[in-house]
């Protein structure tokens, strides 16, 4: 156990070095969510909005939690790509023939993924503030929001690690998490779910992004949270455990003959 932690710390340091050597990766990662943010606030923000109670700033405030969720999806893609490209290189083969805890090879990527996600979220939140997003949150609310985000980022990162391992090529790894982009839209990210047709609404209310977005919105802007926080935590734990088991199974397979 101590060895697994020590090995994971070393692997994390390796992955963070990669990340800081290519900071453009994070900039590139937040292009998509920032693009959506600007599109929604400046093109659509004047007319759409929760219940028509409009104003661009109000809409920016409403959708920022959804934009943050999109950022997490974009970060997942980055993680899936980085693990897939690591797998295709020879160094993972070397690690596999060394007496080190196997989980550390994945843990290094997960740690980097969570840190990268949170940096992306911070960047996107900064842009949202420029477009008119206003939070009413106290420092404790911010901390709670950060905690929920870290937990959900941890879940999505394990999922991306599994997807990156399942992908046969780096290109496939960059495509696999793409369908996740639809989830913040088919949830409470950009409009109230109560405005959706029944079938879509049912899906929107029961998928994992909705409780996360609602919790975030509650903490940052004072909207009611209800049981959303509990559901968000439950989803995060379930995704984490399921993805971890899947990733571990994929990783313990013999690597494909090269």
């Amino acid at each position: 156990m101590a060895t697994a932690l020590a090995d994971s710390a070393i692997m994390l340091r390796r992955n963070l070095k990669h990340m800081f050597r290519y900071p453009s990766m994070i900039a590139f990662m937040i292009l998509m969510p920032v693009g959506f943010l600007l599109l929604f606030v400046y093109i659509l923000g004047g007319t759409v909005g929760p219940g028509g109670q409009s104003g661009r700033a109000a809409y920016a405030t409403f959708i920022t939690p959804g934009i943050i969720a999109l950022t997490m999806v974009a970060a997942s893609t980055a993680t899936a790509v980085s693990i897939a490209s690591d797998m295709t290189g020879g160094i993972i083969a070397r690690f596999r023939t060394m007496p080190i805890a196997r989980v550390s090879m994945l843990a290094g990527h997960v740690g980097r993924g969570v840190i990268q996600t949170m940096l992306g979220v911070a960047g996107v939140t900064a842009v949202a503030l420029l477009t008119g997003f206003r939070a009413t949150a106290s420092p404790v609310d911010w901390l709670a929001a950060a905690a929920i985000l870290v937990l959900f980022a941890f879940a999505l990162t394990w999922l991306s690690v599994a997807l990156g391992l399942a992908a046969k090529t780096v290109e496939a790894a960059s495509n696999l998490p793409t369908p996740l982009i639809i989830l913040p839209f088919l949830g409470s990210g950009f409009v109230l779910t109560s405005s959706m047709p029944t079938a879509v609404r049912w899906f929107a209310e029961y998928q994992p992004f909705t409780p996360v977005i609602n919790t975030l919105r509650g903490l940052l802007t004072g909207a009611p949270i209800g049981n959303n926080a509990v559901i968000a935590i439950a989803w995060s734990l379930a995704i984490t455990v399921g993805s971890y088991l899947w990733a571990r199974k994929l990783f313990s397979r013999d690597p494909a003959p090269s």
């Binding site: 060895t3 020590a6 090995d7 070393i10 390796r14 070095k17 990669h18 050597r21 290519y22 290189g89 020879g90 160094i91 083969a93 070397r94 690690f95 596999r96 023939t97 060394m98 007496p99 080190i100 013999d254 690597p255 003959p257 090269s258």
Partner: protein
């Protein structure tokens, strides 16, 4: 009363393999391999592309599982104690296993960290290896900027961080320029002086000849011959001498004088005569030529090399 003579101390076995089989789908890659490598020796697995060499290394280095068969490395069972096996081996694969986004020094420190050397020891080991492999000057540069030869050297240096007792080298010089190849050969030769066992694969017959104490020829998943380089060469009868003359008439005269079958090449003015390569036989031929006043401009003796062995045993070029 004479006591029984003490038996010569037996050299411990570093690698023992029995009945190893591996298929990928329908394709049989290894079809029952048995071999033994004594400690402190260099074993070369020689074969053409696709013979199964890399698969063999991947199995013995715990990277992939065999379908059937047993293997022990430094006494540890490959199937039951892979973690123990990993502690005693070092692997340099065919594809460079270095982190291109780190510097050379960081790569070595990464290895040292994973072997839990402790910071001062890790630093010392890293600097020693950089020095030994002539990489100190570029140690601070990203590996992505290294040449192929430098990457190979760094790769091997990383393998040596843990002082492994058994080292696997999968085609260590493929793609290297001749100078880097010589450097790599010297490194391998130096390694064996410290009692390390080296298991290398190569498709270069010259390389196996240069480095190996024992060679096994792998072809289509089966070992078709095994022995020292000399033993293998003896399997092929076909050595010859090549005589060169100054003009066509001398060549023609020589052919009649030696009274043996020979292959004359009138373009190159050469005559190839099969011989066992023994000195009396050579002297006999030269004396006859001398007695008849035939001047030989040049004489070369061609002893059978491993190319001939491979050709004889498989009917294919290696």
């Amino acid at each position: 009363m004479s006591s029984p003579t003490p038996q010569a101390a037996t050299v411990p076995t570093a690698i023992a393999v029995a009945g190893l089989r591996k298929s990928f789908g329908e394709h049989v890659v290894l079809n029952g391999i048995d071999l033994t490598v004594p400690q402190g020796t260099v074993f070369a697995l020689l074969g053409p592309n696709g013979a199964g060499k890399t698969t063999m290394v991947q199995i013995l280095s715990t990277l992939i599982h065999a379908d059937r068969g047993e293997a022990a490395l430094a006494g540890y069972d490959l199937n039951r104690e892979p973690a123990r096996v990993r502690e005693v081996i070092g692997v340099t694969g065919q594809y460079s296993a270095v982190d291109e986004l780190l510097t050379g020094r960081e790569n070595l420190m990464l290895m040292a960290g994973l072997y839990h050397l402790g910071r001062p020891a890790a630093k010392a080991r890293t600097e020693t290896l950089l020095e030994q492999f002539d990489l100190t000057e570029t140690a601070g540069k990203l590996v992505a900027t290294y040449s192929g030869g430098m990457k190979r050297k760094l790769d091997l240096a990383m393998t040596l961080v843990s002082d492994p007792r058994i080292i696997f080298l999968d085609e260590p010089t493929t793609g290297l320029d001749p100078r880097s190849r010589r450097v790599m050969w010297q490194i391998v030769k130096d390694l064996t002086r410290s009692g390390v066992t080296v298991f290398l694969t190569t498709q270069y017959l010259e390389e196996a000849d240069q480095l190996a104490d024992q060679i096994a020829l792998l072809d289509h998943g089966t070992l078709i011959a095994e022995g020292t380089p000399e033993e293998l060469k003896r399997l092929t009868p076909g050595g010859h001498i090549r005589l060169r003359f100054t003009d066509v008439s001398t060549l023609g005269k020589a052919l009649t004088v030696i009274a043996r079958p020979g292959q004359a090449d009138e373009e190159a003015l050469t005559l190839e005569v099969p011989t066992s390569g023994s000195v009396p036989e050579l002297r006999g031929i030269l004396t006859r030529l001398d007695d008849h006043g035939v001047d030989v401009a040049e004489l070369t003796v061609h002893t059978p090399d491993l190319d001939d062995v491979f050709l004889t045993l498989t009917g294919n070029e290696a």
